[in-house]
Subunit: 771 residues, 2 copies
């Protein structure tokens, strides 16, 4: 067992103080945002509706999830292990979940206040740069809070639990990931149901602009941007941060002992500094493109992070592995990888470079001036079908390159370690930390998107912004589209790195459990333990892991399609029953659409959530720890490709539409435009519901696997193991996951019936009109 | 080393005779088909154009592929191993490729003659059942030829090479799979480029029916059905048959010695009998649905196959493993799995049941009366975007269930073996053979689709069929849609079973090579050898394997989109420059469109083909045999889901369109109909180009891995291994695969330019018309 020395404790304490300082910076930035002008009364009124809708949704969501969290808390406590550590882990789970929820709420709370201020700024002459500043500062607040809370949580756990910190941290990461997944799915369904529903009736059927106040779904659309793109995204990035840090700490302890556990905290503390730097230096100069300013901030802070981390490695880590007071594996490493300082510094640099490359690739495949997007836009001349097909082609291809780059980063970290698996896993986790030194800026970039999108909506609805101001907001919105796609690429990269590293913790947990059981079985039990990919049951695990990703994505897309259908009928009904809406004489009932979105997304988030939590349990107890490892590998492999495919094809469709709207291939109102609108609508749930939720999905499944591994071994290996109890548990887990899917199918059937009824009502009304 | 006894040789000789008998049956059935009436002169004229186009395409394709085959022949011969066996394997490769090509050619040759006869039969009063009989008999010819040639090839190799047969058979399977993959890709691009191009201009823009003779792309569309759906499919199923049989023979030898090698041949010989039975008993009674008759034939032959195989197991195999003269592993097995007869019989039954379940699931998700398809049809009321989204949801979900069932079959076979890996792999291969006892009927079912589709086209174009006859042909066509989807599900199931079983040969090849090298490395070399999924580099292999499936699918979809775009511009040009076409005064230049399809599909098939062949070589030599195993696992996991997703979402869209055309949601000509036409067009390259090509893709990559494994070990493990040469080889392979992708991108850019030029010409013409 490892005891932390006084020096290390002092350093961790300093890091905790840095975390508090980051939170203080967030508070100062927040005051700056709130100090800006709140705009005209009409703007304030609209903003108030959005604020109320968003707060009401999140409050209801948290009430639903609180129950779930309590159940998981109890289940976690029931898993085998030392009592104190188990309790610590369960409490850390609640803290991680609470932090995740708090970050999400903060993101939403500030965004709904910032967007009206951005709109107000744009209403002023030459207010574009001021608007960009407010939007980016808003992101800065969330970014600094993500960094501060993540670092604070991890540092506190290390200070309190010392050598047991890794196990307790698993709880922290799990809580953060689980809550983030629910917020991603729920918020994602809300935002895209409202968006798709609003577009289908407004843009496609009625030919009125986006965010037109006559459309009953506009307020819901704006609420959705805040609960999905702001709250969900913030929680998701917090979770990425927490889980990567957890993996690095666990593996650092195994690979480099005490200093290995402290060093990742140092890297992320440096991340807090450079995030602040990035937020402060990002300032739009004169007439330059907003994206250019953001990229400058990103690259500057990434470079600073890499340099500072390298310095930290050379100052803090010793020059050879002999000097690290660590574990048994160290002897093995000395021969190969001579200098831990160089290894650690290069690993961080690999992560930083990976972030930069993903930024570039994503920009290439989804930017408005790049070949692939121009190609998708060009296919609009032959109709919607070719737009959909070319977008899918672009998505598939870009996913392959991004996955290839992530794979190359893993290989590079692995080569650094010279064949030592534990060191390799630690370096991969460190690369993840390097990637995350940029997370502060990334969050700021991503929040920029929905805030400027919403500001545009408020400006449009209030009618208080002149043409110049509207143009400024449209520019900001287009920048936001690209930054959003970039964030998703980076988030999924952290998922792959963290998951790969967590495989180490998983194997470690299995090995330790086997040590306690003191026995390796034979025959079928061996197959349950086999990590060998060529074992048929392990291969079955791979297939099931990939299948879970497909099912999860399908459920998310389906949920949006269904909820959007309900909204279409509601908006059509309002237009039909209140003809005054179209002539601005009547005000649509915005609240009804918000209610439908709230109801549907809360109802639909359970199924994918239960699937993610219970599928690994069913596979683990049913087939064993070997197939469960295969399951995770299949989920990672299919997940990374699916996530990037969904994000990038969605981004390409969105910007192909913008290209046509800017006048290419016939411009607005042409048939080509209608074709790209269909493409964009298909892309909506791809890029904002299913795609981004795969990142926390992978981490949740990984952490569930790490948590249950000892129980699975204890129930399957000993000669007197109660296999029926184990199989019973697997069946219960499978029944819960499968039951959730069936329940979702039944709801789908009811929704189909309701839509038929609504369609009949429409037909009757049409007949009455003619009659 | 195993010497085959005289008894076994006699049995194999009898099996070879049975194979010849199957081919004789095919010849008799062929005469029956050709004896039918060839129809009116106008029908014959159209059929002649289709025949010429199809033959010209396949001849050009074979010329292109012959060069490729010669290169692979040489490369195969250069791989390490015993000289005589290497030569045998290389020759077997050519034979496998030639058989695959011959089956494909036969399928096309007969289909283009059968479809005019089916049209002629439908022109007669009450000719529906006669038409169905001809269409199904045509399939019977191809089915019996598939079975006969596959069995003949395998039996001859066993007779000639005896104990070395497994190694030689790898060549046979590889040749069959490689050629089938090219035919699937090339034919798939041809058929869907023509179909999509024809629909986009004809149905969507001009509002004329499918197969209207005024559409310049109709002949190409009909040619495509024959070179893609007939030739490609026949080669694909032959390949499935050959590779599964090869896997079973290799593993049978390892698990049960001599009898284990002969028994799979017996099962497939039984498959030949029951296929003939199925073809002969399938007869449409009175007014019954064609699908019902086909299902009856399928279930009857499946049941007969299961019963006869079980009898064969009990007659031929001994009652305990002690009595099998076999290999070293046998001792280990006795303890667990007592009765080889029961094991073998149950494994075959598992395969047969799997085929039945896939038949049912596919019917449920794509049938015109099932809930999921009705749901997709219902979403047409809210536009094309929701149709696309709901179809994708249905595809994802159905893929999960089908993959789950295949996984369950693997687990069941594994449980039967009681933990013995070799026996488990053999039983999985035997389950594949069981699945394939139904292949004769399956081929017959699948050929039914394009033949009746084409017959409908010929009837429509000739105008010589009255309303009743047209209705009969539409019915047959709808049945064909479902049978096509079922075949794809079964084909991909054989891919998973064969690939899982081939993992055994792979591990065996690696082990033997390691034995020869006499040394296991350390450090990085250990990572290259690690089959453990938790090794980061092996996980990288999984990601790259999944990525290859995504890239391959994206390339196939892109190729169709691009080629279809060229056809759209060509058909539009003909309508524009020859206004007489629309008034039936001018005849469109069908040949031009056929030429474009031929040129484009031959050009585009190279990229996915080279990717499939060289990606595993790059991974194997670059990262090692362990990551290569991970690569295969990732490709299998992602591949099975992707293949079924693409096939079933395509099938659901196709039938959702039929539901609307039959009058639901507004019927033909409504906005809902336009929405489903877009969905169907998106589904075309999904279900007929990318989806079905994944099946041979997986097998090609598996067999490449098996073939190169010894070379990889020899070049990476010994202390004096030349790692630079190995890495150089990996780089060359990666450069070829990547270069092919780049070349395809450059072509895409040129195609974009051409389409812009064509669009400008259109705009000019429109301006001239106005001016």
């Amino acid at each position: 067992m490892l005891e932390l020395g006084t020096g290390s404790i002092a350093i961790v304490a300093v890091i905790a103080v840095i975390a508090l300082a980051a939170l203080a910076c967030a508070f100062v930035l927040r005051r700056q945002v709130l100090a800006a002008d709140e705009g005209t009364p009409s703007m304030r009124e609209i903003a108030k509706a959005v604020q109320e809708g968003a707060a009401a949704y999140l409050n209801r969501q948290f009430r639903t999830l609180a129950l779930f969290a309590v159940v998981v808390f109890a289940l976690l406590f029931l898993l085998p292990g030392d009592g104190g550590v188990r309790l610590g882990r369960s409490i850390a789970f609640l803290v991680g979940a609470a932090f995740s929820a708090a970050i999400g709420y903060l993101g939403m709370w500030l965004a709904v206040r910032a967007n009206v201020r951005v709109a107000a700024a744009a209403a002023q002459r030459g207010g574009r740069n001021e608007g960009a500043r407010i939007a980016f500062r808003t992101g800065g607040v969330v970014g600094m809070s993500v960094v501060g809370l993540g670092l604070l949580g991890a540092a506190l756990v290390v200070l309190v639990y010392r050598e047991n910190a890794p196990v307790v941290l698993e709880g922290f990461g799990f809580g953060a990931a689980l809550l983030a997944m629910f917020m991603r799915v729920g918020g994602g369904i809300f935002t895209k149901a409202a968006d798709v529903g609003a577009d289908l009736v407004g843009k496609v059927e009625k030919g009125i602009p986006e965010d037109d106040p006559r459309n009953a779904a506009t307020i819901a659309d704006n609420v959705g941007d805040n609960v999905g793109d702001c709250a969900g995204m913030a929680a998701d990035l917090f979770e990425s941060y927490a889980v990567t840090l957890v993996a690095a700490l666990i593996l650092g302890k195994a690979a480099m002992g005490e200093r290995g556990m402290v060093f990742p905290l140092m890297v992320t503390a440096i991340g807090a500094f450079v995030a602040l730097l990035g937020v402060l230096v990002t300032r739009v100069r004169g007439n330059e493109n907003g994206l250019k300013a953001i990229n400058r901030g990103f690259y500057l802070s990434a470079a600073a992070g890499a340099v500072l981390s390298a310095i930290a490695a050379y100052v803090y880590l010793p020059g050879s592995f002999d000097q690290l007071n660590g574990t048994a594996e160290l002897g093995e490493m000395n021969a190969i990888s001579a200098d831990p300082r160089l290894d650690a510094a290069l690993a961080v640099v690999i992560g930083v470079v990976l972030a930069g490359v993903i930024l570039w690739i994503t920009g290439y495949f989804t930017g408005t001036t790049s070949k692939p997007t121009l190609h998708v836009a060009a296919t609009s001349r032959t109709g919607a079908a070719t737009v959909v097909l070319s977008g899918i082609g672009v998505g598939f291809e870009s996913a392959v390159y991004t996955a290839g780059i992530i794979a190359a980063a893993i290989c590079a970290a692995f080569l650094l370690a010279g064949g030592s698996v534990w060191l390799a896993l630690f370096l991969i986790a460190l690369a993840g930390c390097g990637l995350l030194t940029t997370v502060g800026v990334i969050v700021a970039m991503d929040t920029f998107g929905p805030v400027s999108d919403n500001a545009q909506g408020i400006a449009e609805m209030s009618g208080d912004v002149d043409e110049e101001g509207a143009k400024a907001l449209t520019d900001l919105d287009a920048v936001g589209n690209t930054t959003k796609a970039i964030t998703k690429g980076i988030a999924i990269a952290t998922a792959v790195l963290a998951a790969t590293a967590l495989f180490g913790s998983y194997a470690d947990a299995v090995e330790r459990a086997l040590g306690e059981v003191g026995h390796r079985g034979s025959g079928l039990v061996n197959a349950m333990l086999s990590f060998e990919i060529i074992s048929p049951v392990t291969l079955v695990g791979v297939i099931l892991g990939a299948a879970t990703v497909f099912l999860f994505s399908g459920l998310a897309v389906d949920a949006v399609t269904r909820a959007a259908g309900a909204i279409v009928y509601e908006v059509r009904r309002q237009f039909r029953e209140h003809p005054g809406i179209m002539t601005y004489e009547e005000r649509p009932e915005y609240g009804k659409v918000v209610d439908i979105c709230t109801r549907d997304s809360l109802r639909e988030l359970a199924t994918p959530g239960l699937l993610a939590a219970f599928a690994p349990i069913a596979v683990g107890f049913g087939l064993g720890v070997g197939p469960l490892a295969g399951f995770l590998a299949g989920a990672i492999g299919a997940g990374v490709l699916m996530a990037i495919f969904l994000a990038n094809s969605g981004g390409a469709w969105d910007n192909a539409k913008k290209i046509v709207e800017d006048g290419a291939h016939g411009g607005k109102g042409s048939e080509a435009h209608a074709a790209t609108v269909i493409g964009d609508t298909v892309g909506d749930p791809f890029k904002d519901t299913a795609g981004p939720a795969i990142n926390p999905l992978i981490k949740v499944m990984n952490l569930v696997a790490v948590l249950i591994a000892p129980a699975v071994v204890a129930m399957s290996v000993p000669d007197d193991a109660n296999h029926w109890l184990r199989i019973g548990l697997a069946c219960v887990a499978a029944a819960i996951a499968f039951g959730a899917v069936i329940a979702s199918r039944l709801r789908a059937a009811r929704a189909d019936q309701e839509s038929v009824a609504a369609a009949e009502a429409e037909a009757e009304a049409a007949a009455a009109l003619r009659g």
